[in-house]
């Protein structure tokens, strides 16, 4: 009996053909995947889109107080700003924080945030709950440190609570999701108690 006879006896022809087809398909897919990977690798990486997510609000301006962090002496200072403010309570809160963040995006800012940092939205939920949703770049490019992260958190929360009466607790989300910390230190897993943050804000006043 020849080897060929034995082979034919053990594996029917249709199975051999099926296995050959599968092998060819696997090889073709591998080549295709390799080609795609090469194409993606050689494609130019798109620059970070630093444009704001929402167009600037037009209309009557209003004087508001922003609580701006200063890294040099680790303080939080009240600064007056004239910004366009919509009429809705939630939209006002959003514009307020967007104005604060745009202040930090300026190169001459006393507390620089990474390029592309943005407040995506603010939700005001009854009773007394504010949810601030920042984008991924805000957290990913944030500098790490207990004080530097604490300054950002205190600045956001104190600015929104001082200008929007009735807020008792604040939650910070990153890209719509809960995150453990801002950049390795400031806890984002719980709701912030506005009263407790006010204590931090007082400690961060110049001269304290």
């Amino acid at each position: 009996m020849s080897f060929r006879d034995d082979f034919d006896t053990v594996i029917p022809r249709h199975l051999v053909i099926a296995m050959a087809v599968l092998l060819v398909a696997a090889l073709s897919l591998s080549l295709f995947a390799w080609h795609m990977r090469k194409t993606v690798a050689s494609a130019p990486v798109a620059a970070v889109d630093t444009r704001p997510l929402a167009p600037p609000v037009a209309g009557p301006t209003e004087r508001v107080t922003l609580f701006v962090a200063h890294d040099e002496d680790g303080t939080l200072r009240a600064e007056s700003a004239q910004i366009p403010m919509p009429s809705g309570r939630q939209q006002r809160a959003e514009e307020l924080l967007r104005a604060l963040v745009s202040h930090y995006l300026d190169k001459s800012s006393p507390h620089v945030l990474g390029a592309g940092s943005e407040v995506r939205s603010v939700f005001l939920v009854d009773p007394g709950v504010a949810v601030i949703d920042v984008n991924a770049a805000f957290a990913d490019t944030h500098r790490s440190g207990v004080l530097v992260e604490g300054l950002t958190v205190a600045s956001l929360i104190h600015t929104i609570s001082a200008n929007t009466p009735g807020i008792l607790k604040v939650k910070i989300l990153v890209d719509g999701k809960e995150r453990d910390t801002l950049a390795g230190h400031a806890d984002l897993s719980d709701f912030y108690d506005v009263t407790a943050v006010n204590q931090l804000t007082t400690q961060l006043q110049p001269g304290q």
Partner: protein, 504 residues
């Protein structure tokens, strides 16, 4: 051609339907075997690496463990990492040559060579010296001859169990029965211990990973008790294990500040012991069908061991492992600075008579929850988390900024606000630390921070973030600056020892 047969055209011989069925069956079996082999290989691949081996090092300065790597059929360890917690050490690589300096001793190693020159004398390594990413790796077996040259003192290597004892670091123990009814087995240790304890039917196992426990002359101890007949000592993968064999449910309790462990029957075990016949059945009695002649214990896990305070202070080197913390400079990570600070603070505290546990003494991953659990389980009088930063000037001392809500329920404390009850004491301690730093002319601030795990610690807890006094980040690694800060922290804690010690 007969019915039921057909002619195979190529082979020119008949094949009946049974042959055909057999052929199909064989091919199916072949395919099945092929699939089983593929699945097995896949499972092996996905099962991941085997459990990591490590070397436990015990010395009077520090107890720590290091990962071992398998190379050339031997276990290797990084020599620089091994000596780092023991003294001042530096290494320099020049091509295939690696020069290591420990305090005043110098060693020269050559990649792929089995001999090294330490203190101008040749030493056999028992295997090749390896260099990987400028790390010098030596066979574990060579440590017993290599380390005495560097350290100038004796070392004892338990190679089979990967345990290394430097100098006179060793904890001995004795075990003796106390009382008959119920019997108690009392272990006395020469220094405080805190083993992990597990029970299983017929035994209670105490695993000592951090203590330099050494065994008695005989690995098996017998006590002549029916309830607790024997105990045995064994070592493996960097740990020592004492197993108590028992015929009734037993539990362990700590005493004498962790120097004594008493193994005694649980309430159910004691009842079973007193109700059970002690030897042969009483005259006239006989076991009923289906009932055993001797008591068959139903063992349940021992209740939680009431923990005594073993360490007054728990020092937490924040970050570690995959969590680098802040990248302070291109060559300096926060996680490395915090370990150095933690070691310095431990030295300062212990020199003031304060027992101290450093939670992370190597580059290990430790979750925030684990850190709080360690501090809470030890009932530490003070928990100190250490951080380092490049921004700002001087030192910041933080207490917890508690999150909203998290009300306690009856006797249970909320995990997120566990710090609530002791926050005033934490703030008093922080103020004391600030005062000491001010005395030393170090710029310092006293703040609250949303920083875990401060809010999860049930006892007094503070965090200290150290930034350079000027703009030079390298000051964070300067021993004199580190000591300036850690000595101030230790002095403040020592001054508040009575107040902190009285905390629940």
């Amino acid at each position: 051609m007969e019915r039921g047969e057909r002619q195979d055209a190529r082979a020119g011989r008949p094949r009946d339907s049974r042959q055909e069925a057999g052929a199909t069956l064989s091919s199916k079996r072949l395919l099945w075997r092929f699939m089983v082999v593929i699945l097995t290989l896949g499972a092996l691949f996905l099962s991941g690496a085997p459990s990591e081996k490590h070397l436990s090092v015990y010395s009077l300065a520090a107890n720590y463990s290091l990962p071992l790597v398998q190379r050339e059929g031997r276990e290797y360890v990084g020599l620089l990492e091994l000596l780092e917690p023991l003294g001042k050490v530096s290494a320099k690589s020049d091509g295939s040559r690696w020069r290591l300096r420990y305090n005043n001793a110098e060693g020269i190693f050559q990649a792929s060579k089995t001999r090294a020159r330490v203190q101008d004398r040749d030493t056999d390594l028992g295997g090749k010296f390896l260099m990987e990413n400028k790390r010098g790796l030596v066979p574990v077996g060579s440590l017993s001859s290599l380390l005495p040259r560097f350290l100038g003192g004796p070392v004892s290597l338990h190679e089979d169990s990967n345990r290394l004892f430097i100098g006179s670091a060793a904890t001995h123990f004795t075990a003796a029965l106390a009382g008959d009814n119920p019997p108690k087995l009392v272990f006395h240790f020469t220094s405080p211990v805190n083993p992990s304890i597990a029970t299983e039917p017929g035994s209670l196992r105490m695993t000592f990973s951090r203590e330099p426990l050494v065994g008695p002359a005989s690995p098996t101890l017998t006590f002549g008790s029916k309830a607790i007949p024997s105990a045995s000592y064994s070592e493996g993968n960097g740990s020592a294990v004492v197993t108590v064999n028992s015929t009734i449910p037993v539990m362990a309790t700590f005493g004498n500040d962790g120097r004594t462990i008493t193994v005694a029957p649980t309430a159910a075990g004691a009842a079973a012991q007193s109700a059970a016949p002690t030897g042969t059945p009483a005259a006239g009695s006989s076991p009923t069908p289906g009932q055993a002649a001797s008591p068959v214990p139903v063992l349940t896990p021992a209740p939680q061991v009431p923990a005594a305070r073993r360490y007054f202070a728990v020092v937490d080197a924040s970050h570690g492992g995959d969590d680098h913390g802040e990248t302070l400079s291109s060559s300096l990570l926060e996680k490395d600075v915090t370990v150095a600070l933690a070691r310095s603070l431990r030295q300062e505290l212990e020199s003031r008579g304060i027992t101290t546990l450093v939670l992370r003494d190597s580059d290990a991953n430790l979750s925030l929850d684990q850190r709080a659990i360690f501090a809470n389980a030890d009932h530490a009088a003070i928990y100190i988390a250490l951080h380092a930063a490049s921004s700002g000037r001087g030192v910041r001392v933080f207490t917890a900024l508690l999150p909203f809500g998290g009300d306690d329920r009856g006797p249970f404390r909320s995990w997120t606000t566990a710090q609530h009850a002791t926050l005033p004491l934490s703030q008093a301690t922080a103020s004391a630390v600030v005062g000491e730093l001010q005395k030393r002319q170090v710029p310092v601030r006293d703040l609250v921070a949303p920083l875990r795990p401060l809010n999860n610690v049930a006892g007094p807890a503070i965090a200290v973030e150290i930034a350079p006094q000027g703009s030079d980040v390298s000051q964070l690694t300067a021993p004199d600056y580190q000591q300036l800060v850690t000595s101030a922290v230790a002095t403040a804690i020592a001054a508040n020892r009575d107040q902190l010690g009285a905390a629940p």
